[in-house]
């Protein structure tokens, strides 16, 4: 995997062979299962084998060149960058928690699905092509050059580190959870195992290594997500394209919800972290307050998407501005494949559990019968679900079945009675999703600290070799810090992910957008925008989440970007207008950023 034109030309062939090899591996595991190899061994083989492949790719992509380390040599073709971005983007939360969130939350939860896809429209139209033209290595590199001065650069580094670090702890947490279940090791050990895999992928080759491992991880995660859903749909007679055909299943759920009195029967007991189903699947609350909550969450997730540095920096790696725009479209297409499947998965799984006509249905059956089921036993043991008989009638009602949303994806193969090889595949997919996102995030943090803080601010005379060593040392230190925080289990996976989006959009959205679209924006304005947005958002988060304050207008801790963003915009515009316009030189720079033609603003190795 040495850098050469040949390698790029051969990409379709290389990843074609890789995909074929992975499918053969799945078949091999299926054969082993038939031969009586234990489920545990198959799980270990799946996770161990895939992580080994990623680490091998990371090793083969090692480099000592600055532009290869920071931007993969700017030669990643749009389609492959699209796959890498999709893997970078789809985290443990998308893979593991999204279908579960829809299962539990119904229509209201789909705000995440809409927000996490629509954000790419903002990336394509407002950000990515211009940042690519700029030629920066990192997002703070753009802020620092466009607005000038170390303080602006430092503020951008601050927002980036806060947002990305929040996010990466959630990812390392997810790798730890999956590794500990698949390999049968304690969670705390699983976290460090996950980190080791992540560092092997990113440390030696920086962006170049992360790019090629992320493509490999995308292929694993999308196969792992689609196979069980298609299998299950086929088994239930919905055909091979369940995404187009589950309308009937949604309608059927409506009938079952009436039958089981979903929403009317309230749970009589509570268990920490577990929930009983009380929300109807497709029903959208008709009141404006619910619509407002949907819209605010969507907006925060979208603006956050367009401000998260680990996503934006993926578009620095394409060969041209045009390729960057196309690449955003490919990214969303690859993301779409998973996101439009997640609601289908949630629907089928819910049908399996609720429909008394299916062999797998449990609601309405006797408690003793349900407790004897293998998957109920397995997941009860680890405290992920609970069956109680609140009213003492010996039958399981909807409000007597408690579970964690996270298990929907992981447990579905067991619930539907699919062979164990599918569970192993899903574990490998979840691992790929969490690792690929963690890779991108750790690299974004380490690059900002090594390039912007160390090289641009602290020691501008540092030699290439020193810079790349500093980058790697930082990667290890930050990774270890994130793993240490993750092992404390402070927030649930999803909570931390939403916070990262809110931090990013509060601090960076307007300084990035206006840097391209408003020539009059100046340094003072940008600094005011970043700090005011970040501080107001963070204070509001603290007050609502920990200070016991009543949220204003339903703007809870998941949506604090709704406070941070307008504050950031107003501060940036007012302060910019009160201070002198940027110099002619800067204005010329903005003009050059706006057209694809010509050299990048920053030279190719700066």
């Amino acid at each position: 995997m040495k850098k050469s034109g040949n390698f790029i030309d051969n990409l379709p062939k290389i990843y074609g062979i890789y995909t074929g090899g992975f499918l053969v591996f799945i078949l091999l595991m299926a054969v082993l299962e038939q031969m009586g190899v234990s489920a545990d061994t198959i799980g270990i083989l799946f996770v161990g084998f895939t992580v080994f492949i990623y680490a091998a790719i990371g090793w083969l992509s090692r480099t000592m060149q600055v532009d290869a380390y920071y931007v993969a040599g700017r030669q990643v073709p749009p389609v492959f960058n699209g796959m890498a971005t999709a893997a970078d983007w789809m985290s443990g939360a998308s893979f593991v928690a999204m279908a579960g969130g829809i299962y539990m939350g119904g229509h209201a939860y789909l705000a995440f699905v809409v927000g996490w896809t629509g954000g790419y429209v903002l990336v394509a139209s407002l950000m990515a092509p211009y940042l690519r033209k700029f030629g920066c290595y990192t997002v703070p590199d753009f802020i620092g050059t466009r607005y000038g001065g170390n303080l602006a650069r430092f503020c951008a580094v601050l927002v980036l580190v806060l947002a990305s670090f929040t996010y990466v702890t959630a990812q390392i947490n997810a790798t730890g959870t999956i590794a500990s279940r698949a390999l049968h090791i304690p969670f705390e050990v699983g976290v460090w195992f996950g980190l080791l895999g992540i560092l092997l992928c990113s440390m030696l080759g920086g962006m170049r290594a992360v790019t090629w491992t992320q493509v490999a991880q995308y292929i694993v995660l999308i196969i792992a997500y689609l196979v069980p859903v298609i299998w299950m749909s086929n088994k239930q007679g919905f055909g091979l394209f369940p995404q187009l055909a589950y309308g009937d299943a949604v309608m059927r759920l409506g009938e079952l919800e009436a039958l089981h009195q979903v929403g009317e029967l309230k749970p009589a007991e509570t268990f920490a972290g577990l929930r009983a189903l009380t929300v109807k699947h497709a029903e959208a609350a008709g009141d404006p307050f619910a619509a407002w909550k949907f819209a605010t969450l969507t907006l925060c997730m979208m603006a956050g998407t367009a401000s998260l540095p680990h996503i934006l920096m993926r578009y620095f790696t394409t060969p041209s501005v045009k390729a960057a725009r196309q690449s955003v479209a490919w990214s969303l297409l690859f993301i779409f494949l998973l996101y439009f499947t997640a609601p289908a998965l949630a629907t089928f799984t819910k049908l399996q559990v609720l429909d008394p006509n299916l062999a797998t249905g449990i609601i309405g059956k006797s408690i003793a019968e349900v407790n004897a089921l293998e998957w109920i036993k397995n997941w009860s043991e680890v405290g992920f679900l609970k069956v109680v008989d609140s009213n003492g009638d010996g039958l399981l009602q909807i409000n007597e079945f408690f579970m964690r949303g996270d298990i929907v994806v992981l447990a579905t193969p067991e619930i539907a009675g699919l062979p164990y090889v599918i569970s192993g595949l899903v574990a490998a997919g979840g691992m790929a999703a969490a690792m690929s996102t963690a890779d991108g995030l750790l690299l974004a943090i380490a690059n900002a600290l090594s390039h912007d803080l160390y090289y641009k601010i602290i020691d501008p005379k540092a030699e290439t070799k020193t810079r790349l060593i500093v980058a790697r040392v930082l990667l290890i230190v930050i990774g270890a810090g994130a793993a240490a925080v993750a092992s404390l289990k402070l927030t649930s996976i999803l909570g931390a992910v939403a916070w990262a989006f809110d931090f990013a959009c509060s601090g960076l959205f307007f300084p990035l957008v206006l840097g391209v679209w408003w020539k009059r924006a100046n340094r003072q304005g940008a600094i005011a925008g970043m700090l005011a947005g970040l501080i107001s958002g963070t204070l509001y988060l603290y007050a609502v989440r920990f200070g016991g304050m009543e949220p204003w207008l339903g703007i809870d801790h998941l949506r604090f970007g709704i406070i941070g963003m307008p504050v950031s915009l107003v501060a940036m515009v007012v302060v910019s207008l009160m201070t002198p316009a940027p110099s002619d030189e800067i204005q010329k720079m903005v003009d050059d950023t706006r057209v694809p033609k010509g050299d990048t603003i920053l030279s190719s190795s700066h």
Partner: protein
């Protein structure tokens, strides 16, 4: 070839495209879902329409929108003489 007026035309058309794109984006990000409850009264492909738009419809439109945007912007760049040379 790049004099001041070319720059101005290019940027005016780029800005117009951006606003068209963001208007479509706004409709399918916010407007449609604001009326999800009412839309659920009708059905599409067997789905309640409000649910369908949030689970699939809007997503599909976003994908098509970005591919279209990339083509349209490229056409603007070419016609104004600001496209990259080496392609």
């Amino acid at each position: 070839m790049s004099n001041g007026s070319d720059h101005a035309t290019h940027w005016r058309r780029t800005r117009a495209l951006m606003w068209v794109t963001l208007t479509i984006w706004f409709v399918f990000s916010f407007l449609v879902h604001w009326f999800a409850s009412a839309l659920n009264e009708s059905s599409f492909l067997g789905f309640p329409l409000g649910f369908y738009m949030a689970a699939q419809g809007s997503l599909f439109i976003f994908v098509v929108l970005i591919f279209w945007f990339a083509r349209a912007q490229d056409r603007i760049d070419r016609e104004c003489g600001f496209a990259e040379e080496d392609e």
